[in-house]
Symmetry: C2
Subunit: 341 residues, 2 copies
């Protein structure tokens, strides 16, 4: 049996993860789901620790993991999200955040019909460095003389491995995005690692854009992108812009990967959406497509393609939740996908 | 006479600045233009310094300044742009980067017609701190053990003054954008300054979004924004997304301001566009609208409104450069605006 750790989390997380698990189950691949149902805001509020050392070990010992969403209006402290999502990314060294953006149906595009809008790209976001290490601090905190700093850190190892990965998966082009014209130290390191990787992959075109221009192009010419590789912070932003032009965050899937270890943590990009939790309005497509990425990474290529295709068909048929124009609830929208496998 | 320093700069900079100056001249306000024509890449390549101490003093002694664009394909080093644009922003303490985004004509929107697309917002970008201070460095630079870091710095003074400014100019709402859920030190300072400013302005609504969500909303619901205030890096990115949804960077204006001193450096958001320099295809609207911001800040409110209105009319009449669908060259497009004053 292939053990998959499952962390439903908060809000709509459990609702969409249930659909993802049912969809994976439909393939009869002998996946064995290990539910960590206690990793949520309730546990955090009760004990101060939502994800403990044992939990991390359990996830690490699994073949892969599936996560719903982490976030609860009752918890103001960033320590909670940091203690779950960022802890898993950092401790399991999941240095690739793989975020595809593909327009599932023309109808979903926010862009006007006479523009190129069939976006189909992947943002590869560095996932273990950048502004996300927590390094930094504040002097004279709380008062009017406060100085706060956060360190934007890039290492040669961390940068070159993620840039290399981008070239490995690219079909035609890698566009490296940085701000080397203003943020120089990390910028020059990214430039160097990108050039070196480009030289190792002469078959793949190498393009560069500054992050402001890249964000703009993602709106004006999104079909021009194949693989975008960038740092943790710019990747966070660009992948959200990409999913907006690909029809919204409800369908956006992601994988946090360590390619060498072959381990992945899969999660929809949308958050816990507390405003609609429990209303059965949550769109399961982001979670289901994340499960599709999991299948592909486990080597179940045909099943992964069938899953993507079933999602496309369900969306084309309007068999979706209201956010995509349909009238189904979460369960029925998941069922609509499974019926098309 | 009111002296305005003019730095045409590189590429299309001189072409669009010429139109902006002619448009200002059309009002007969007795503005006296002091041209710093040597501040460009040629000077940088010859002497290593494009903007010297005397130049900075000349600009500082002016009432305001107008800048075209800085950037040249022959200059790879970020030191050039840093030495002009960032030097002026930092040394003249122009802590507010005011970037309006307004859809001039429905025809220019990249968004589909059934979406809210009449964007009319201002991104207020902190302009003297954040990731742009140059602080940081690299250890073991150039080798495979390199560690590079850039400091993302926020001070209470720097943050509270820009947030305060945002509330001062807001019509209905200030949306503060940060990433306090992951980038904690600066994040908590921004949160505190924003709450304090909100309490001082109970008449203005205060909203908060994380930067990824804000970037997405700028595509899916741009009309929901009034004033956005954020740090240097997020402001760079969000203002470009805003100008993309407002019809493209060709019409985007900006002002680098020190409100206390009443000094502003006005510049179109587009760059030097070396690919079209000299072809007379450059769109002068960004520079002309930047001159309009200058007029407003000099107290010439009626003239500023007339200028904006003339731009709107010229655009509505299709009397524009090709990027906006017209067939005029730079000079004729500028003339089309002046004819409508
Ligand atoms: C050229 C670059 C350093 C600059 C910036 O990021 O500030 C530009 O993109 C801008 O927005 O004015
Ligand atoms: C919740 C937040 C810390 C997180 C991130 O920025 O990584 C989220 O936005 C994401 O993109 O997965």
């Amino acid at each position: 049996m292939t053990r998959i750790a499952v962390i439903p989390g908060d809000g709509i997380g459990p609702e969409v993860v249930e659909q993802a698990v049912m969809t994976l189950d439909a393939f009869g691949l002998g996946l064995d789901f290990d539910h960590l149902d206690h990793v949520n805001a309730g546990t955090y509020l009760r004990t101060g620790v939502a994800l403990c050392d044992e939990d991390v070990a359990r996830v690490a010992a699994s073949r892969s993991a599936l996560l719903g969403a982490i976030g609860d209006p009752r918890v103001a402290s960033p320590a909670y999200g940091r203690g779950v999502l960022l802890r898993l990314r950092f401790e399991l060294d999941l240095y690739v955040n793989h975020r595809p953006a593909r327009l599932l149906s023309d109808r979903l595009s926010p862009l006007r019909p006479d523009r190129p809008r069939a976006v189909d790209c992947v943002v590869i976001r560095e996932n273990t460095e950048g502004l996300y290490t927590g390094m930094g601090g504040a002097l004279r905190a709380g008062g009017e003389h406060e100085i706060a700093l956060d360190i934007d850190l890039s290492t040669h190892r961390g940068t070159s491995r993620v840039v290399e990965h981008a070239f490995t998966i690219a079909r035609r082009e890698v566009c490296m995005v940085d701000k080397a014209n203003a943020v120089e130290h990390g910028g020059s390191l990214w430039q160097r690692c990108w050039r070196a990787a480009a030289a190792r992959h002469p078959d793949v075109a190498a393009r560069h854009l500054y992050v402001d221009a890249a964000a703009m192009r993602m709106v004006t010419d999104p079909t021009g992108f194949d693989v975008v590789v960038t740092n943790n912070s710019y990747g966070d932003i660009l992948s959200d812009v990409a999913s907006a032009v690909a029809g919204g965050i409800g369908t956006a899937a992601s994988a946090n990967l360590n390619p060498e270890r072959g381990f992945g943590l899969y999660e929809p990009v949308h958050g816990s959406a507390p405003d609609i939790a429990g209303t059965r309005a949550a769109n399961p497509v982001g979670a289901i497509l994340s499960a599709g990425l999991l299948l592909a990474d486990l080597g179940h290529t045909a099943e992964a393609a069938a899953l993507r295709n079933a999602v496309d068909l369900a969306v084309a048929d309007g068999e979706t939740t209201p956010d995509l124009g349909g009238s189904l609830d979460t369960g029925k929208a998941g069922q609509a996908v499974r019926a098309r496998l």
